[in-house]
Symmetry: C2
Subunit: 406 residues, 2 copies
């Protein structure tokens, strides 16, 4: 597998575009993704009880039809908590897109991100859709513009593409994502859209997505809030011409591995661009008894405000890490564990098998000055491990999220 | 029941003192609480897997002996993650206090709060204990000094006393607490010590404490982190001379109600003094199906960083409240609920039975400018309710917790 330039338009038969249509003041706010042929579709959606209208629309399509050919996404307005009007508006977005592309509404997936509780400027959006359909492009630029159109307060676009071979055919996966951002701060939303030209059954596509989401998007935390709009969608149109994957064979695992790479890459980009983040934190829990134990400990550390502020302050405050592990809800033996911090500047042990070390504070500070820091924790209880990513909590997080909507 | 001046020394037979002995630079750092006669003791302790040495010591005493006569508390060092040395040091604190007071070590409860992972300056503490025993006083001033000695970065002392009558005897309850504070920021610790002269069985004392803790300390959140040292202790010495409470009779419920009042008062004081807090937030979930549902929804709202920063920014961001309810893990119907904000400045509805209201932003801002804000949420599903307290998330929270320990 190798990384190639570009994003969602790298796989064969996919076109994309993003443009400014006036939902936001200046930045791009409408994106379109299109597959020349019907694609198998799989999705993972927010577990929030409060679900935005487009989430419900997509869930039905994935479940009922298992196929789709286009995705229309607006930023600037999440169409969440908008009741019946929200449902009607989502349908209108799908209908307008379908009409402009010569498809059925059931072929179109919809996503929205931005302010919640405000109705979509639906006329503006429908006009926008009609205007951008002719601009769809299979160029790398088309993909980048689409990645730009889904951004809210993201500070950079997030896209990736990889290729690998199955049955001597080159297969591609492309992806774009947006992180936790706010428009007139209201809601953190994570959206990720993956395209691939692989030929695979919908059941296995859904399985591969679900399993790789567990180790990527589900292992990141910016602020512990789960949005009403979060979703990851993957469209597979089969144009790579490999022998269609119908069982969990070698080709399936090759695909799953590449999909995992793409998902982890995008997940890390989201965290790196977390609101106000100055550091990317990677927690590795090693030698755990179970995978679930390792995951829960890692996420508990990364969602602790005390841990996050300590890293912002570049303070080797291992005590907060231990405390966050302690209230994670899973058992472990604190008198046995080891804790190590590593960055480009070097590596330092703070605790070894339960013993607090008299570590060099100066060296610790130098390690923590870096932008990417790994926190290694050894439990010595078994063979399982988990990795999770998060960011620090800075003044800017408070500033971005504390400012008035108006 | 009425509130009276003072704190832990108000109940008959209790003495207290607090002084500076040199663990911290200037502020008081050692407190002592003493009952002239053996007292029934009940306790509720941190659920953190990582427990500081004094927590384990006290748990054993409460379970095994059910009685105690003194509590010694140091601030400035939490004696947590200190291994065997920590256990030895806790025992030394109990032994020295016992020796100075003519008691057995098993009669002495111990608490520590402050930096973790650093050994106690045990010689200094033992000398300090010997020096302050003769200063023990049953005056209100003695109680206040004790309340001061347990503070870390708390900005004010937290104490209260109430009295009520049972069997024509006046019964008193006094209490002192400290909130989430840091010494060379390491750990948030909540400590609360209650004294009472009521005569009651240990079983019922423990029951009343456990149940009132559920509705007080367990319903507050400063930053969602649970410390290794959290504890609430209550000592009942029986000197009020009421007929000893041996069953859940009227006297028991009268006592429990007063104890609940004391615990809620102290819990709210802790939140009000939360690190960097500028506002006290009270969430009331009304007409819920179950109490557990109501509690979980309330706590989910108050632990959301997005909700907390919005209140810091005085932004009527009801969408974040709805989203936090959505990922709380308990079901509710978002299309049915009502949301109201109330403060001294007035009251405003933001959502009524699922319908987003076009509320007056100016009025909302005026209401949110106040220091104490109530958030009322109606579920229309049943008759249960719950109240929880929290605070906003400010720049100062990040500042206090991000600064170097050194």
């Amino acid at each position: 597998m190798q990384i190639v330039q570009g994003g969602v338009t790298v796989p064969l038969g996919f076109q994309a575009i993003g443009d400014h249509i006036g939902i936001k003041k200046k930045r791009k706010d409408l994106s379109l993704l299109y597959s020349k042929t019907p694609a198998q579709v799989a999705g993972v959606f927010t577990t929030n009880v409060v679900k935005a209208a487009p989430v419900i629309w997509n869930q039905q399509i994935v479940k009922k039809y298992e196929k789709a050919q286009a995705v229309v996404i607006n930023s600037g307005n999440a169409n969440a908590c908008t009741g019946k009007q929200g449902v009607v508006d989502t349908e209108k977005m799908a209908e307008t897109t379908a009409y402009s592309l010569g498809l059925q509404p059931k072929d179109v997936l919809v996503a929205s991100t931005g302010v919640i509780g405000t109705f979509l400027p639906i006329e503006k959006i429908c006009t926008g859709i009609k205007n951008i359909v002719p601009m769809l492009s299979d160029s790398l630029d088309g993909g980048s513009k689409a990645a730009e159109g889904i951004m809210t307060t993201d500070t950079f676009i997030k896209e990736i593409a990889v290729e690998f071979s199955i049955d001597n055919q080159i297969v591609h996966i492309g992806g774009m994502a947006k992180g936790s951002g706010m428009i007139h701060p209201n809601m953190a939303t994570m959206l990720s859209f993956i395209t691939t030209d692989i030929s695979i059954s919908q059941t296995l596509l859904q399985k591969a997505l679900k399993e790789t989401v567990e180790d990527s998007y589900h292992m990141i935390s910016v602020d512990g809030d789960t949005s009403t709009n979060d979703m990851v969608l993957v469209l597979a149109n089969g144009l790579a011409n490999n022998i269609g994957i119908q069982e969990e064979n070698e080709a399936y695992f090759k695909f799953k591995q590449a999909l995992q790479y793409v998902n982890i890459y995008l997940a890390k980009q989201i965290v790196k661009d977390g609101e106000g983040a100055t550091k990317l934190l990677e927690v590795q829990i090693q030698q755990a008894k179970t995978k679930q134990q390792a995951k829960q400990l890692a996420m508990s550390i990364l969602t602790s405000n005390l841990v996050k502020t300590a890293f912002f302050g570049e303070d080797a405050n291992w005590g907060r890490i231990l405390a966050a592990m302690g209230y994670s809800g899973v058992p472990f033996n604190p008198s046995k564990i080891s804790i190590n911090f590593t960055s480009k500047e070097g590596s330092i042990w703070l605790m070894k098998q339960g013993k607090v070390l008299n570590f060099n504070e100066q060296k610790a500070k130098e390690i923590l000055k870096e932008e990417e820091i790994q926190i290694h924790i050894f439990l010595y209880e078994g063979k399982e491990k988990a990795t999770a990513w998060g960011c620090d909590l800075s003044y800017d997080y408070v500033k971005i999220n504390g400012s008035y909507r108006t």
